[in-house]
Structure formats: C-alpha cells, structure tokens
C-alpha cells in the first residue's frame, strides 16, 4: 500500500530531479567527451531534459504553453542535429576521424 502510494504520488519534484540529472549528464558529456557524435547526442540529452521540465510544469500549472514550447524545441533540435551531423561528416572527410579537437584548426 505504502509502496503503491509512493508510486502514485509521483509529483513535480520527481520530474524536476530527473530533468536536472539528465541535464547534468548531458552537459558533462558535452564538456568532457571528444567524439563529436557523442557530443551531439549529449546536446540532445540536455534539450530533452529541458523538455521534461517544460512538460512537468505545464501539467502542474494546468497550462498548455509549456507543451507547445516542447514542440518547438523538438523541431529546432532536429534542425540542429542536421547541421551538427553535417559538420561531423565534413570533419570526418578531412581528418578521417570525428574528434572535436580538429575544430581547434578554426582558431583565428
């Protein structure tokens, strides 16, 4: 009984904690990993962490705005992934690897 109650009463805080965890994992991935594909995946993770908090707040406040915003974020994430992958493909073509350190050649 106790356990099911705990399961049923998943509240706003649970979602926000999950969102924060996902965002931290994502940002650590962006900062620490060298493989560009993985970095792109980490960025997606961060975006989705934000989406979770949007949806959670929208349900909590009974307001549609957050849910609509999520749709926008997903659209932009798709576009961003396309650009990021194009960059990754180009890096791969030039250096036969997708390591982020090759971007250092762009230093002005």
């Amino acid at each position: 009984m106790q356990s099911t109650e705990a399961l049923v009463s998943v509240g706003l805080n649970h979602y926000l904690v999950l969102s924060a965890l996902l965002f931290t994992i994502g940002s650590l991935g962006v900062l620490l990993r060298k493989n560009m594909i993985v970095i792109l995946m980490s960025i997606e993770l961060m975006l989705n962490a934000v989406n979770i908090s949007f949806v959670a707040f929208a349900t909590y406040l009974d307001n549609l705005d957050g849910k609509i915003m999520v749709l926008f974020v997903m659209t932009i994430a798709a576009a961003e992934a396309a650009v990021g992958l194009a960059l990754a493909v180009n890096i791969f073509k030039n250096f036969r690897e997708v390591n982020i350190r090759f971007f250092e050649h762009l230093r002005g």
Binding site: V30, L31, I100, R101, F103, E104, L106, R107, G108
Partner: protein, 644 residues
C-alpha cells in the same frame, strides 16, 4: 553646343588622353600614343576656338561664360564651387595652351620616335594640359591652386622623364622642391585673402577690392599680395626661386617648350592678372613685383651671355622674358604683360622646338661650340629660328617688338614705374639681342664645327610643320596688339585689338597720364638702337672677329667667371641654406627622434602587447573550454540572481 558641355569636353579630352596612354604605359608604339595624345589636345583646341567665338559674340559687358558643376566644399562660410569661367583673360590662355600644346604634341611624335616609353610621355603631357586648363579656368583660388599643383607634378615627372640619369632625376626634384617653397607662399596669400574678404572666388575678390590704394606695408592686403607673388616667383622662376628652371632643361625638349617656356611658367603672371584689382590696390606689393622682375630680367640675360648649352641659353632667356612680364605687371600694365605672355609663348616655343630639332639632328649634342654652319643642313629649322630670333630681339613690327616696347613704355610712363625700371628693361633688351645673335651665329652660321661622325639632317614633317606655324605666328602675332603710337602711322590705323579685348577684365592704373607721343617714339628708338647694337656686336664677335670673345673675356676674367658660374647662386643656396637645413635635420633625427620620439612609440606598443599577452591564452580554439567558461558564467549569474 552650350558652353558648359564645351567646357567639360575641353577639360576632359586631355584627361581621357592621360588615362588612355597611362593605362597602356608599357606600349612602345609611338604612333598610337602620339596620335591619341595629339588628337585629345586638338579636340580641346577646337573647343577653345568655339568657346572663344561664343564669347566674342556676346556684348562686351557680359563676356563671361560660367559653368558650375557642383559644390565642392561648403564649410562654415567657405564656399568652393567646382566652377569654371571663360572670360576674356582665360579665353586667351586656353587658346595659347591648347593651340601651342597641339603643335608641341605633334612635334613630340617625331622627337620621341626613338624613345623607350612614348606612352608614358604622352600621358604625362596630356596630364599637364589638363591641369594647366584647370589652373586657368578655375573660378576660384582653390581650383587654381589644384591646377597649380598638378602642373608642378607634371613638370616634375617630365623633367625627370629620363630618370635613370641621376642628374636628370635630381633636376626634377630640384624643380619640385623649389616650387613647394613658392606654393607655401601661394597658400598663405590665399588664407590672407580669405581672411580679409571672406571669399576665394576671383569675381567676388576683384569686386570687393578696395578702390583706395593701400599704402601700408603690413596690412593684410599688401602681405597677401606679396605672399601670392612668392608663389608666382616659384612657378614663374623669378629671383630668388629661379634656380630650378635652367636645370629643368634636363627634360625632353618639347617639354621645355610647352611647360618651361610657353605655358606653365607664365602661370604666375596669369594669376596676378586674374587678381589685378587686388594687386593694383597694393602698390607696395606691386613695387616689389616690378623690382624683382627687373632684377631677374637683367641677371638672367647676363647669365645667358656666357652659356654654351643651347637649351641653357634659351632657359635663361625664358627667365629673363618672364622678368619682363613681371616688370609689366609690377607697373600695372597687365595688358602688356598678357600680350608679352602670348607673343613669348609663340617665339619661345618656336625656338625651343627649333633647338629640339637641332639636338635631334646632332644626336643629342647640346653644346653650341660643336655646332655651326647648320644653316645649309637644316633650312626649315634655320629659317623658322630666324623668325623667332627677329621676334625676341625686338625687330620692329615682329611680335616681340610690339609687346616688349609696350612694356618698356609703360615702365617709364606708368605712375608706378620709374626711369631706373625702364633703364633696366632697355639694358636687358640689349643683352637679349646679344645672346640670341650669339646663339644664332654659333649654331647656324659661320663654318661648321660639327664632329665628322655626325651628319646633321633636316627633321621629318611632323617636326617642321609646328615650326613653320609657330614661325608665322612669331612674325605676325604682334599685329594682335599694335601699340597705339604705331597704329597711328600704319596704313588703316589698326587698333590695339588685344588691349581692347582684355580691357574690361583688367584693372586700370590709377592716375595714368596722357601718353606723350614724342617720348614714346624716343623710347622706341632707344630700345631698338640698343638691341641693334647688341646684335651687331654679337655678329662681329662670333662671325667676323672670332678672336675677340677670347680677348674680352680674358680682360674681365673675374667678372666673366662670376657670370659664367651663374653668380654662384646655386653654390650659395647649397652652402648657406640647404646643407645647414640638412645638417640640422640629421641632428634632429639622431638625437630627438631616436632618443625621444622613437622611445615613446616603442613604450606604447610594448604596453599594449603586454596587456594583451595576459589574456591571449583564453583564445585557445578549444571549443569545450569555451563551453565550460560559458557554463561557469551562467552558473555564477544564476547563483547571483538566486542569492541576491
């Protein structure tokens, strides 16, 4: 065609020629370069004639065609329109510039036929014509100054045209630097006039000129006139800035004819005539002009007596004739000055081109001691040269006589003139006759002293044709402005067209008395006799008794050496002025510049570099580092917002 269209064609045709030949400067095709260059100036000449006829058809009081294209500058009371004016004065000038310019361009095709860089030559020559037209047509002092500088540049480029010869390159530099000194004077005069009258447009200036003569020495007006005259001294080679002109003969001979005899060097005379109302109000400044002119004409003529280089003789003769023009301007006879400017342009251009023809035939030999007897080899050059010779020494009824006697008479008769100015002019006339006859005798007459390996020959038609045209002008050009006293006895009593034409544009001499006809005739008789004595003496010296020059010069050896070495003026300038300045500048460089100014700049640059180096490492190019910094920044901001 309307006058503004004609004016723009007049100005832009030589500019187009400059661009055309300038852009294909590597071409060695003298025909294309020469024909285009000549045609462009020819087009300008046609425009000048059309403008002149338009002007002449207007009633006398309205003879001024103005075309304003746009407003060049408009700053706090200073208005500089880009406007050009064709009036009686500038019409005469554009006819001379483009007319003689066309002939000289034509002559150049033959003269420069063996040159390496004909396109460059013709492009510079067209550039000169363009700037000279700007100078004479500009309706304000700033536009005139623009052209003034432009012709200086063209002169520099053409004097040093054969710049691989170090001496010729140095001559170009000397001309440029000497002119810069004069230009500083011109600018100061311009500023003073603007300060005094608040305008730089000629028409306004002449209209606002005080009608009462300003007798003080230190008023703005007198100082402005003196400063402008210093500018004229530079451009028109008067004492003390005349030294560049004889050296300018290093350029190709047609250049000497066009720039350093017929047109550019007369710019100073033209400028003073343009501002005649201003100058006539400052008699003290005019007195300086007259004295400098008279001294220059005597000094240059005396140096001309001793020179052996055909072009040097002509160069000193030019300086001397310019002295006559300034003498005329200085006594208020602007008319006579302009008239002498025109006739001098005819006969001096003719003689320079003639000397070019001789030099061409003698394979670049310029020493008259190695010539002689050229009469039979080069008949056309000889006979046209004779026309120029008769004109310059003042043979009655030839062009030089008409204009020079007008000047001499005015220097006596005008209230601004005096007997010693007249005397100096007459003495100059005697010397002119001597050195020109000497030049004729040594070059064309007597027996040949030509080295046996040189075979002089007459020049091609493109060179003799301009000579013939100029020869005719030298003989008959004087009839444009017959002095009144002569007009009375000539059949039909021809009036003085030239004076009549220019009169409305030029200031009148205040207090000019009625001419005394007897005095005028006596003056003419004296000057003609002096010239005749000079000419006969020279003929005797160099044709009949060839031992005489040797004897006379050995008797007055000290004087001869002094004159032969041009009064040591160049040496004086180098020793007392140029070298001290160079030494002082070296001192400033070694001590002030190196120890003080350089150190400040080094110190400043080191500071900037040091400040940069501490933060330079941030720009590593490592994206993840940037991202980390951004993240940290966001965290700090959020932290501050939440906590604050």
């Amino acid at each position: 065609m309307s006058h503004s269209v004609l004016l723009s064609i007049l100005l832009l045709a030589p500019f187009f020629g400059f661009l055309f030949n300038g852009l294909r400067f590597k071409s060695k095709n003298v025909q294309v370069a020469g024909v285009v260059g000549t045609a462009m100036v020819g087009i300008s000449f046609i425009c000048s004639v059309l403008l002149f006829s338009q002007l002449a058809s207007l009633p006398e009081a309205e003879r001024s065609l103005r075309a304003e294209y746009w407003n060049w500058l408009n700053v706090a009371g200073l208005q500089i329109p880009l406007a050009f004016v064709v009036d009686q004065l500038s019409a005469v000038m554009i006819l001379v510039i483009t007319g003689i310019g066309t002939l000289i361009h034509l002559f150049s095709i033959g003269y420069m036929s063996h040159d390496e860089r004909p396109s460059k030559y013709f492009s510079y020559l067209n550039f000169f014509v363009f700037n000279m037209l700007l100078l004479v047509l500009g309706d304000n002092l700033v536009l005139m100054f623009f052209g003034w500088e432009g012709v200086g540049l063209a002169s520099y480029l053409l004097i040093g045209f054969w710049f691989t010869d170090k001496e010729k390159a140095a001559a170009g530099m000397k001309a440029f630097v000497t002119n810069r000194i004069g230009d500083a004077g011109f600018l100061i005069g311009l500023f003073l006039l603007f300060g005094e009258f608040g305008s730089i447009v000629f028409e306004t200036l002449n209209a606002q000129a005080p009608t009462v003569q300003d007798m003080s020495w230190n008023s703005n007006l007198t100082l402005a006139c003196i400063a402008l005259f210093i500018g004229a001294c530079g451009k028109s080679a008067q004492i003390p800035l005349y030294v560049w002109l004889p050296d300018a003969m290093a350029g190709p001979t047609p250049v000497s004819a066009l720039i350093h005899a017929a047109t550019m060097v007369t710019a100073g005379v033209y400028m003073i005539c343009r501002l005649s109302n201003i100058f006539i109000a400052a008699p003290n400044a005019l007195f300086i002009v007259a004295i400098i002119g008279a001294l220059t004409l005597l000094m240059a003529a005396s140096i001309g007596l001793t020179q052996w280089d055909i072009k040097k003789v002509l160069a000193y003769s030019t300086v001397s004739q310019l002295g006559y023009m300034f003498l005329a301007v200085g006594v208020g006879a602007f008319n006579a000055a302009m008239f002498h400017l025109v006739t001098h342009a005819f006969f001096k251009a003719l003689m320079f081109l003639g000397s070019g023809s001789v030099i061409h035939a003698m394979h670049e030999e310029q020493d008259i001691r190695k010539m002689g007897g050229l009469k039979k080899h080069m008949p056309v050059t000889h006979w046209t040269f004779v026309a120029g010779w008769l004109a310059i020494i003042g043979t009655p009824l030839f062009s030089g006589f008409m204009s020079k006697d007008e000047i001499l008479w005015m220097s006596w008769h005008s209230p601004l003139g005096s007997w010693y100015l007249w005397l100096m002019g007459v003495a100059g006339a005697g010397m002119t006759a001597f050195y020109m006859t000497r030049l004729m005798a040594l070059t064309f007459w007597g027996e040949s002293r030509v080295p046996s390996d040189v075979h002089p020959h007459e020049s091609p038609t493109s060179m003799t044709l301009p000579l013939i045209v100029l020869g005719v002008l030298s003989v008959f050009g004087g009839f444009l402005g017959i002095p009144h006293v002569l007009g009375k006895i000539l059949p039909g009593h021809p009036p003085n067209f030239f004076e009549h034409w220019l009169d409305p544009r030029l200031a009148n001499i205040p207090g000019l008395a009625q001419a005394n006809i007897t005095m005028e005739w006596i003056g003419i008789a004296i000057s003609v006799t002096t010239a005749a004595v000079g000419a006969i003496l020279a003929y005797r010296f160099y044709i009949i008794r060839k031992d005489l020059p040797e004897k006379v010069t050995s008797k007055i050896k000290g004087l001869y050496e002094l004159v032969y070495n041009k009064y040591w003026v160049d040496e004086f300038y180098f020793g007392r002025i140029i070298n001290p300045i160079v030494e002082m500048s070296k001192g400033l460089w070694m001590y002030i510049d190196v120890n003080f100014i350089d150190k400040i700049t080094y110190w400043t640059s080191d500071m900037v570099k040091g400040a940069g180096s501490s933060v330079r490492s941030m720009q590593s190019g490592n994206i993840q580092q940037y991202a980390l910094l951004i993240l940290l920044g966001v965290v700090v901001v959020i932290f501050a917002v939440v906590m604050g």
